[in-house]
């Protein structure tokens, strides 16, 4: 239920602008990897290139190889929808489908995969909501609009939606940046549980969060505006936050970033 991700010389572009340059890193299965760094350093772009969501934007493209258990997802004959089913994503702002009920939101991915049997959908819905620690809060109102939940509940609903299709990897793009501290704590607890089953990559602006939830941390940075983002240092989280080997990492995590 979890796969290894190997990025080899991954560069991503918006039109002619190179947003990230030659990223090479290996992400272990059943672990939480945090990507940190200043705004515009390309960490979200890199995250979105792991499930081929980067290319959704007009003019955006990716160079290099991204191997999921040895298979390059950028090979020409790869089905992009299968890639995204294997590698789920949770976005910065909670984005449940506004026209759908809680139930329909959770099973949306399964329905896209052709699952029609009511019993199967019911089971998957409960399992995903339990997995996202949301079941007890919403089990009595599954047919209510998903958009009627609180921000934190909506984000957990989105996590439930992502894990309902049983992906191998879950990508999270600053999943708590729109949430209050209590909801953030709920999501962080959830991440700790999810890593028993999934490979998790999380982009965060919050260094305490990276230190709390992740096993490995990658620090991205840019030399100056207009330059592409690079992976500066990638190591065990404990080491990055206590004894980083690169001066720029230390400057950033201690707040002396310039």
């Amino acid at each position: 239920m979890a796969k290894r991700i190997e990025a080899v010389n991954v560069s991503a572009y918006y039109g002619s602008f190179r947003a990230i340059d030659n990223i090479t890193m290996t992400i272990e299965p059943k672990s939480v990897t945090a990507l940190i760094g200043p705004s515009g350093c390309g960490k979200s772009t890199f995250l979105r290139s792991i499930n081929r969501m980067h290319e959704v934007l007009p003019g955006a493209k990716v160079d290099g190889q991204l191997m999921i258990d040895g298979q390059n997802i950028y090979d020409r004959d790869i089905d992009v929808t299968a890639v995204r089913r294997t590698i789920g994503m949770v976005f910065q702002r909670p984005n449940p489908f506004p026209t759908m009920s809680i139930y329909d939101n959770v099973v949306a991915g399964l329905k896209l995969n052709g699952v029609r049997r009511k019993a199967a959908l019911d089971d998957a819905c409960e399992k995903a909501l339990r997995g996202a620690n949301l079941w007890n809060e919403v089990k009595d109102r599954l047919n209510r609009p998903g958009a009627g939940l609180s921000g934190g509940q909506q984000q957990r609903l989105c996590i439930a939606r992502a894990i309902a299709v049983e992906p191998q990897v879950v990508l999270m793009d600053e999943p708590c940046s729109a949430l209050d501290p209590i909801s953030t704590l709920a999501i962080e607890d959830l991440i700790a549980e999810l890593k028993n089953q999934y490979t998790i990559v999380i982009v965060t602006h919050n260094m305490q969060q990276a230190a709390r939830v992740s096993d490995r941390t990658g620090f991205f940075s840019i030399d100056s505006t207009g330059e592409p983002g690079r992976l500066i240092e990638y190591d065990d989280t404990a080491k990055i936050f206590t004894n980083p080997s690169v001066k720029r990492t230390e400057d950033y995590i201690t707040g002396r970033f310039g």
Partner: protein, 332 residues
């Protein structure tokens, strides 16, 4: 700042934050005035609607009293005769039938064009195509009518013959000609006229789909079409309904193009191909010049019916949109 200036400097002289004493309601006059103006503008709509309804009712009553047939079931229109004989059945039926056919033809195409413009076409192609759609909306309806009657009637006649020869067993296509001005011709022309309205409105609606909802669908492994079905269409549903209703409004009220392309025949018939078809608005246009006072009153009575049909259609659309409101964030 001295104590003196606090009490003597007029409000406004110290910056908007106001370091001095609080000013006394000097801006409230403008506020009240504006509120009055806005309320008056809002009420104008109501006044106009009520005035039109009252006019129609008052003018229609004499003819309705004089009518020697049942106004609702009689199919012909001899309002100038003595005693006058006229009924709304045929032309009301024709109005609804041509509009419905026009929408059935126009809406799928319009939604297709709108989706192509917002989600498939290259940006430059989309803006060019959008320009032509808007141009289509700007063509006066009399031009559509003349084009339909003098040019389009031939091809539609041939098509009618084809439909009759191959699908004549379907009652709709049972008419054996001659193929001239027919319900089919009128509703195709009407469909072309409705097309740009539905297209431009639904294009706006589709373009407003939040990118985050589209991305959510794509990230679940949806293809583009599945993404449109999951995120774009449900989100746009109230807007689609509204655009269809506006299109229907145009179709129901369309006058001159249908006066030129329908057969002006007074009967309730589902024969789409043969010479026939008439609508309330077209009938008013064709009969008004030759109408005597009773005839004119009768035509106004038919206008009252059209008014009522439009009202019901709009209220139905509102009800549909309202029923789903909690699922679109209460915005509809």
């Amino acid at each position: 700042m001295s104590q003196q200036s606090l009490t003597t400097t007029p409000a406004g002289a110290q910056g908007a934050g106001g370091g001095g004493a609080l000013p006394r309601g000097s801006r409230l006059g403008a506020e009240k005035l504006f509120r009055g103006l806005a309320t008056a503008a809002g009420s104008t709509v109501l006044v106009i609607i009520v005035a039109i309804a009252a006019f129609l009712i008052v003018q229609a009553v004499p003819a309705l009293r004089a009518d020697s047939e049942n106004f609702f079931t009689f199919q012909s229109w001899f309002a100038n005769d003595d005693p006058p004989k006229f009924g709304i059945a045929a032309i009301a039926f024709g109005t609804v039938l041509t509009s419905a056919l026009a929408l059935i033809m126009a809406v799928p195409v319009a939604l297709g064009i709108a989706l192509c413009l917002t989600h498939y076409a290259h940006r430059r192609v989309a803006s060019t195509l959008g320009f032509f759609i808007d141009l289509l909306a700007a063509v006066p309806s009399v031009v559509f009518g003349l084009w339909g009657r003098d040019y389009f009637r031939g091809p539609v006649g041939d098509f009618s013959k084809f439909l009759h020869d191959h699908f004549g067993w379907i009652p709709l296509f049972g008419g054996g000609g001659p193929y001239g001005n027919s319900i089919l011709l009128g509703s195709i022309v009407l469909a072309i006229m409705v097309l740009p309205i539905v297209t431009s409105l639904s294009r706006e609606v589709f373009a407003q789909t939040p990118a985050q909802n589209e991305e959510a669908a794509l990230a679940l492994g949806a293809t583009k079409w599945e993404m449109i079905r999951t995120a774009v269409l449900p989100y746009g549903k109230p807007g689609i309904i509204a655009s269809v209703m506006l299109g229907l409004g145009r179709a129901l009220g369309e006058t001159i193009a249908l006066a030129l392309t329908l057969g002006a025949v007074y009967n309730v018939s589902f024969d789409l191909l043969g010479t026939g078809g008439n609508t309330i608005a077209a009938n008013i246009a064709l009969k008004f010049a030759e109408a005597n006072p009773t005839g004119r009153s009768a035509l106004i009575a038919s206008g009252l019916v059209l008014f009522a049909i439009t009202l019901v259609v709009n209220m139905t659309a509102r009800a549909i949109v309202y029923r789903r409101r909690e699922f679109v964030g209460g915005a509809a």
